[in-house]
């Protein structure tokens, strides 16, 4: 007999005759047992009526059960979570955008305000509050369904035991009934029957307890799941968005979503706009414009990105563009799971509806199959891996294979970590430490289109990886020019490619500030043998001298418009021709003719007016008396002579040598002069130290080389910053760096100081105040601008500077993008009452009365450490404190101080109406005029349970207040009830009291002890269980 039939036997078919009282008790027990699985303590009510103890033929194994659970998780939870996180977000964003438009203030403020004011889940979500308010009922329904289905699968094991149970019950029922056991007296029958009822009653009770416990646990697991899922979403979504967020505009992260909603509204506005134009009515132009611009940008940016990532270039554009629009739609909708059904009915008019259908179908199949193992799941798993790979790991080898799939990829280190940030244009080549190689395909038999693809590919490399702009030189030209690099099967490393590419461009084209001879020298140095240099290739000085000479000779040999581009004028001064700004980017080539004579050839783009004559400055002339005021650093004894020789513009450096004779005709020595500024360099060759004239000339030459070397180095390391410097300033920097670092470290030191954009003369003062770590400090732009004020600098000493900088560094490590060092110093000196915790929260000195710990405020969307930041978070912390004291005092007024504290230290899981009533009587509920507050409080606390135990009511309430800080100040419904009490609105007074209570709490050893004990008790599960059992026993 099946148990189902048995149910009927007991409950309906066989009336229990004997004792009416007992009979009804028995029946009630049996009824409840069989039909109702009442779960009084559960947090949700399961769909119990259908949950009968019926038997089915289900033979599913545990493995099948797992699968089923898996599927349920996918369907139920995914749907629930996306309802909360997905669909709703669209409306929320529209709301945020709508709010932003009407805000006042800066752009940043506008969006921040709009998000803060947003009532929707999304506003909270983006404010960093992960606790999106979930639809509790919906979640519980999902949980109930889930477990029900699970039971259907796993519930069958106990069939035998249950059948036995029912058989025994039936037998006992029969025996103890009137006319049952023959030899059993009626009295005993009644007693046994009561025993039977008792057993069934106990079974029912325990079963109900079990169910209650189970449901509680499931509900917690579900809540935890949703929380984790939301957190996971936040993290993953942040990672995804960060990659595409413009630096310094953090608010754009949120706008990425809102944009399209705004666009949609804008488009409608535009249609109306156009219509109204036809009617001759004026409308707001801006909306429609913005929307059109946006959509255009989105589409173009999307298409560009896809093409760049798939390395498609413009390939295929033509053939696809002529492709019939409907045909394109057909292929997409098939891929999206719409099949062919709709395509036949689609025409140009309703193709938009078709797209919508396709997208809808696509989304539906993602929802339905997205989380289930099998083909669909695999596809989406690949998809998410693809996104990650594209985001973090870009593999040029793979990209290469896509282009030339039939060629094997060999050599190179393979995977290269390359963030999208680095892929943006303008990233310096030295920041990319990539190691990869590519195999050169055999282009000799390639079709023109393949060569074109290859050139495109190189162009891609050139921009994305090398950071080199080809400046009009096509990749094909480059290939032709360097046949040795592009031999079939040879591996070309990107370093080599980049170096060659850069060098090629550098030595052949004119850049700003470069002259004709500059290019000549560069070309000679690039390949000295080609220009007849026979000396040692490792002799840098030798090559330099050789190249300088030859480049100048070539200038003397080259005519432009019938005149040599370098030479001597009639007044004896040397001159050369300079290039005008228009010549930049133009090619200049140094050529050796058959007789070994060098001359220049110019690119066809060079115009006559771009070569102009450059004369030496007349102020310092041969025969002129030395102006000693210009060389204050010079020992007076050598002064008083006459300038006897001028070799201006000796090289491209613009460094001139002035031979200097005393009145008696004796050679005194040589000065070095910046020919652009006529500034004497702090360097002098003393002829008295030379053994003879030849030795003197040698000393001059060596000094010259040493100085130009230094200038070269400074120019190289100082980059853009050093460009405006005079030669004197450059040398000063070089000398300073050599003195402070020496050897190879000098270059780095120079770089660091040059980067600081401080004048060379100021460096000494800076180092005096900041110490030897100055270069490191100056890399920090915030610190740099801080110390650039003389008054600030004067106040600092090395140890204070170090301390300040370290602190700034620490704050930056905690997520601040910029530091106002002025404020930091002030805050530090005045021991401001705050700290930033290791996990980046604002730690106030004010203690929470609810947790007795200092109040921590999570920092959201804050990237600048300054006074505004401090005041804002300080205010929030005070606001929270005020609110907490309001609550605490309210509780205190009803429960007494100890009572309020006990309530605060209660485990949040015990916070139910029953337990609160049990502990505190009616006084607690009476505290609040409006009981909704308690209900909401309970719901909030229950909803936000993070762990099943160990969190106190006080902590939870505190967290709730912190989390809702944005709304807290604006008196949301939950706290209105408290705030409506005028007595409690005297914030000032409360804050005064707060200080006292704060101290009281801190000093109350007894309280601490109690709290400790309570914590221990809370942690003891065994004890809790015992307590629960005892309580139940008492109730009985």
């Amino acid at each position: 007999m099946s148990s189902e039939n048995m149910d009927n036997d007991i409950n309906s078919k066989e009336p229990i005759p004997v004792d009416a009282e007992m009979s009804s008790a028995f029946k009630a027990a049996a009824d409840e047992l069989a039909l109702e699985r009442v779960t009084p303590d559960s947090e949700f009510s399961m769909d119990s009526d259908k949950e009968t103890l019926k038997s089915t033929e289900n033979k599913e194994t545990t493995k099948d059960a797992d699968k089923k659970v898996w599927k349920m998780v996918g369907e139920q939870f995914y749907k629930t979570a996306t309802t909360v996180l997905g669909v709703k977000t669209i409306t929320d964003f529209a709301e945020i955008v709508g709010r932003a438009v009407v805000q006042k203030g800066s752009l940043r403020e506008k969006w921040s305000k709009a998000i803060e004011e947003s009532k929707g889940d999304l506003g909270k979500y983006f404010l960093g509050k992960k606790e999106v308010s979930l639809d509790k009922e919906k979640l519980d329904d999902a949980l109930a369904d889930l477990f029900k289905s699970y039971r259907e699968v796993t519930d069958k094991k106990e069939d035998n035991a249950k059948e036995k149970f029912w058989q025994t019950v039936k037998e006992l029922d029969r025996l103890t009934k009137e006319g049952g056991a023959k030899y059993l007296p009626a009295e005993e029958k009644k007693a046994y029957r009561e025993q039977l009822a008792q057993i069934i009653w106990q079974y029912r009770k325990k079963q109900a307890d079990l169910d209650g416990e189970r449901n509680k646990k499931i509900s917690r697991a579900g809540n935890l799941y949703i929380q984790n899922k939301v957190s996971g979403f936040v993290v993953a979504r942040d990672a995804l968005n960060t990659a595409f967020t413009a630096t310094g505009v953090p608010v754009l992260r949120t706008l990425g979503y809102s944009a399209m909603a705004a666009l949609e509204r804008g488009s409608k506005a535009n249609r109306e706009f156009e219509k109204s134009l036809l009617k001759g009515v004026k409308t707001k132009e801006s909306d429609s414009k913005a929307a059109f611009i946006l959509k255009d940008i989105v589409v173009n940016s999307t298409v560009e990105t896809v093409r760049a990532l798939r390395l498609q270039g413009k390939k295929g554009d033509k053939q696809h563009k002529v492709k019939d629009f409907i045909e394109a739609f057909g292929s997409v909708s098939r891929a999206f799971g719409l099949g062919t059904l709709a395509v036949a009915q689609i025409n140009h008019e309703n193709v938009i509806t078709g797209i919508e259908k396709a997208i809808g179908q696509f989304g539906k199949s993602v929802e339905e199959h997205g989380l289930v193992s099998g083909l669909g799941g695999q596809m989406w798993h690949n998809f998410s891996s693809n996104v990650d790979r594209l985001l973090h790991l870009y593999n040029p080898n793979e990209a290469w294979q896509k282009m030339f799939g039939d060629k094997p990829v060999t050599g190179g280190a393979g995977l290269q970590e390359l963030s999208p940030e680095l892929m943006k244009e303008g990233v310096a080549i030295d920041t990319l430490s990539h190691k990869w190689g590519l195999t050169i395909p055999d282009l000799s038999h390639s079709s023109p289109s393949q060569v074109h693809d290859y050139a495109n590919y190189l162009h891609q490399l050139d921009k994305s990886f090398t950071g080199v702009d080809l400046k009009g030189t096509s990749a094909q030209e480059f290939i032709t020019k360097h046949p040795e690099m592009f031999k079939s099967g040879q591996t070309l490393s990107v370093e080599e490619f980049t170096t060659r590419l850069k060098q090629d461009i550098k030595i052949s084209t004119v850049a700003a500030g470069e002259g004709i001879e500059t290019k000549g020298i560069q070309q000679i140095i690039d390949d000295p043998r080609k220009f007849g240099y026979t000396g040692d290739l490792n002799d840098v000085k030798g090559i330099k001298l050789f190249s300088g000479r030859l480049a100048h000779q070539a200038a003397l040999n080259t005519e432009f418009n019938g005149k040599a581009i370098a030479g001597v004028t009639t007044d004896g001064q040397t001159y050369d021709m300079r290039l005008g700004a228009g010549a930049r980017g133009d090619a200049i080539k140094l050529v050796m003719d058959a007789n070994g004579k060098a001359h220049y050839e110019f690119g066809s783009g060079l115009k006559a007016d771009e070569l102009y004559r450059h004369m030496a400055q007349p102020e310092i002339m041969s025969g002129k008396a030395m102006d000693t005021s210009q060389v204050p650093w010079l020992d007076k004894k050598v002064i008083g002579g006459t300038i006897t020789e001028l070799i201006l513009d000796k090289t491209h450096k613009g460094l001139s040598v002035i031979d200097f004779h005393s009145h008696n005709g004796q050679v005194n020595g040589a000065f070095f002069l910046d020919s652009a500024t006529h500034e004497f360099l702090p360097h002098y060759v003393d002829a008295a130290l030379a053994s003879g004239h030849d030795h003197y000339l040698q000393l001059v030459n060596e000094s010259y080389t040493a100085l130009t070397d230094k200038l070269d180095k400074v120019t190289a390391v100082a980059g853009e910053v050093g460009k405006g410097w005079s030669a004197g300033a450059k040398l000063e920097l070089a000398n300073f760096a050599t003195e402070h670092a020496g050897g190879t470290g000098a270059a780095q030191t120079m770089h660091d100081y040059a980067f600081g954009n401080l004048s060379a003369t100021k460096l000494q003062a800076v180092v005096e105040h900041l110490g030897n770590q100055t270069p490191q400090y100056l890399k920090d732009t915030d610190f740099r601008s801080f110390v650039s004020e003389a008054a600030v600098l004067q106040k600092l000493n090395p140890s204070a500077a170090n301390e300040l900088w370290q602190r700034g560094l620490e704050y930056k490590g905690k997520g601040f993008k910029s530091i106002d060092y002025g404020f930091l110093q002030q805050a530090y000196e005045q021991s401001r009452d705050f700290a930033i915790t290791h996990d980046g929260k604002f730690l106030s000195a004010t203690h929470s009365p609810l947790t007795t710990s200092p109040i921590e405020v999570p920092i959201t969307g804050q990237s600048h450490f300054d006074a505004d930041f401090y005041h804002h978070y300080k205010a929030v912390a005070n606001n929270i404190a005020t609110s907490e004291y309001t609550v605490f005092n309210k509780l205190k007024s009803g429960l007494g101080e100890q009572g309020a504290r006990n309530l605060m230290s209660m485990d949040v899981n015990d916070f139910t109406s029953e337990s609160v009533r049990g502990h505190f009587g009616k006084s607690f509920l009476g505290l609040f005029n409006n009981h909704n507050f308690l209900e909401k409080w309970q719901t909030d606390i229950a909803l936000h349970i993070k762990n099943s135990s160990g969190v106190s009511v006080g902590e939870r309430l505190h967290n709730y207040l912190v989390d809702s800080k944005g709304e807290w100040g604006k008196a949301p419904a939950a706290v209105n009830d408290i705030h409506s009490d005028q007595e409690l609105l005297r914030t000032d007074e409360l804050m005064k009291k707060a200080g006292v209570i704060d101290n009281e709490i801190k000093n109350d050893v007894e309280l601490q002890r109690t709290k400790e004990l309570l914590d221990r008790v809370k942690g003891d599960k065994e004890l809790l269980r015992t307590e629960e059992l005892l309580k139940r026993a008492r109730e009985k």
Binding site: L107, A221, A335
Partner: protein, 114 residues
């Protein structure tokens, strides 16, 4: 609305558009579609309404996010399984215990009544 405010708004939208487009581009480039279908999708893109583009992006993003957090689903499955096992065990014991009580009552009655 002032002219400046309009211009700022357009600037912001431009930035948004580029970021959004790049992100959508990454997502589209990542789906397992043939190059031809992908290209077709790009042809359709300009024809789509803003809402449709947003929907497409949301679908792709949801799928991505769900797979990034799939371990959380797995954890729940494990936990629910263990909860159910625990429950089943306790329920079995309860039933066995009750059956024992019933048996002894039955035996008692039988011994007395026999």
């Amino acid at each position: 609305m002032t002219k400046d405010a309009n211009n700022t708004q357009v600037d912001v939208l431009q930035q948004i558009g580029r970021s959004f487009g790049q992100r959508l581009g990454y997502l589209i480039a990542s789906i397992n579609l043939t190059d031809e279908v992908r290209e077709d999708l790009l042809i359709l893109l300009p024809e789509m309404t803003g809402q449709q583009i947003l929907d497409l992006s949301n679908i792709l993003e949801d799928a991505y996010l769900n797979h990034k957090t799939i371990d959380i689903d797995e954890k729940l499955t494990v936990e629910l399984n263990s909860l159910a096992d625990d429950y089943n065990n306790k329920e079995s014991s309860l039933l066995a215990e009750t059956n024992d009580k019933l048996d002894s009552l039955l035996n008692k009655i039988k011994s007395v009544a026999a």
